[in-house]
Point group: none
Chain length 201, copies 2
Amino acid sequence: MRLLIADDHGLVRDALSSHIERQAPGAIVVGAASVDEAVALLRQEKLIDLLILDLRMPGMNGLDGLQRVRTEFPALKVALMSGLARPDEIRGAFARGAVGFLPKTLSATELLSAIQTMLSGERFIPADLNTADTADGASFTRREREVLDYLLQGRSNKEIARSLELEEVTVKLHVRGICRKLGAKNRTQAVMRAVEMGIAS
Amino acid sequence: MRLLIADDHGLVRDALSSHIERQAPGAIVVGAASVDEAVALLRQEKLIDLLILDLRMPGMNGLDGLQRVRTEFPALKVALMSGLARPDEIRGAFARGAVGFLPKTLSATELLSAIQTMLSGERFIPADLNTADTADGASFTRREREVLDYLLQGRSNKEIARSLELEEVTVKLHVRGICRKLGAKNRTQAVMRAVEMGIAS
DNA sequence: TATTGGTCTATCCTTTTGGATAGAGCAACC
DNA sequence: GGTTGCTCTATCCAAAAGGATAGACCAATA
């Protein structure tokens, strides 16, 4: 069994792989710190049985990273992993062909059995998805999330519009939505709120 | 060596403990899913050498959780762990007597040596914090600092002018100065820069 | 089927920000 | 004395941001 774990936290990556390799003798676990790195590894190493993708990491950009991987490697089993996920992201993940969704609240033994499940061809859907949905506080829509990412870089509405291929008015619309949900008076305050709330990750 | 890891992600908890226990024979690692649980465990189990606290978890509420633990168990070594932390949180952690700060970008071997360091009585301060912290130290004038404080609250020029008893033009002047010194295009970017550089008090 | 929620766009409008340029008071320093 | 740096203010102007309201599309859902 060969796994590729893509997570930008080296600690999580190392700890997971060492745990899995101990619990499942013969398992080989490779790590990647970004989607790009994962794709590069997949291109030269065709023998991966399962890719575990962290939802919030460089290159993911919502579910775009998953899409990318699925397009280039349609036969590869891909599972998403996340500490905090919105229901639409989870549904979107399955809609894009993911074979499982792993909340980080899973225990390590549950993780192992989930991996076994997925490797055997089943989908793994954690039981507590229905209940653990709304841990978020401020729930952003997909677009708002994207816009927020740019806000956090101090981009102007015009720049954001160009990047996302939208009109500037539309970006303003989303910015207002973000401010409303964060209880902020303006974009700068929204950015600070996001940082304070740890949304900026 | 006895560790208590408090993290609400069971996966992280289990993986870390299994990794540590394998790499450091004789180590005992206990897990807790919240600050409350950690405190409860500490009350009945006095033999913990080091507590590792996740910064973002139930009961932490900023650094309140750390404060609580430090007050009740002043002799206990406590390290904070976080995927993404603001420099002021890191400084605050040390100010409250933490013996270390562990970014999740650490590799697992680095983590182990960090733990050894802390158990031996040293403080562990990751290298990339030192550099980021003291880097350049963009020298602000007294007024610029004051204005920056308000910027970090997302205040408008008009509000800042009222608070500091200045004309709005003058505030603009200082805002421009701040942006120039931080290499920012606008106030929002300046705020993010300030946060990243740890200027945010 | 009707409704809801997310999305995108448009047209107005006001306020805020950012930038340029210029003058003046004040304290520290060579 | 002269210079330098920080401070404050003023008057312009252009660009950006923020806000209101309205119409439209689509997918999921009741």
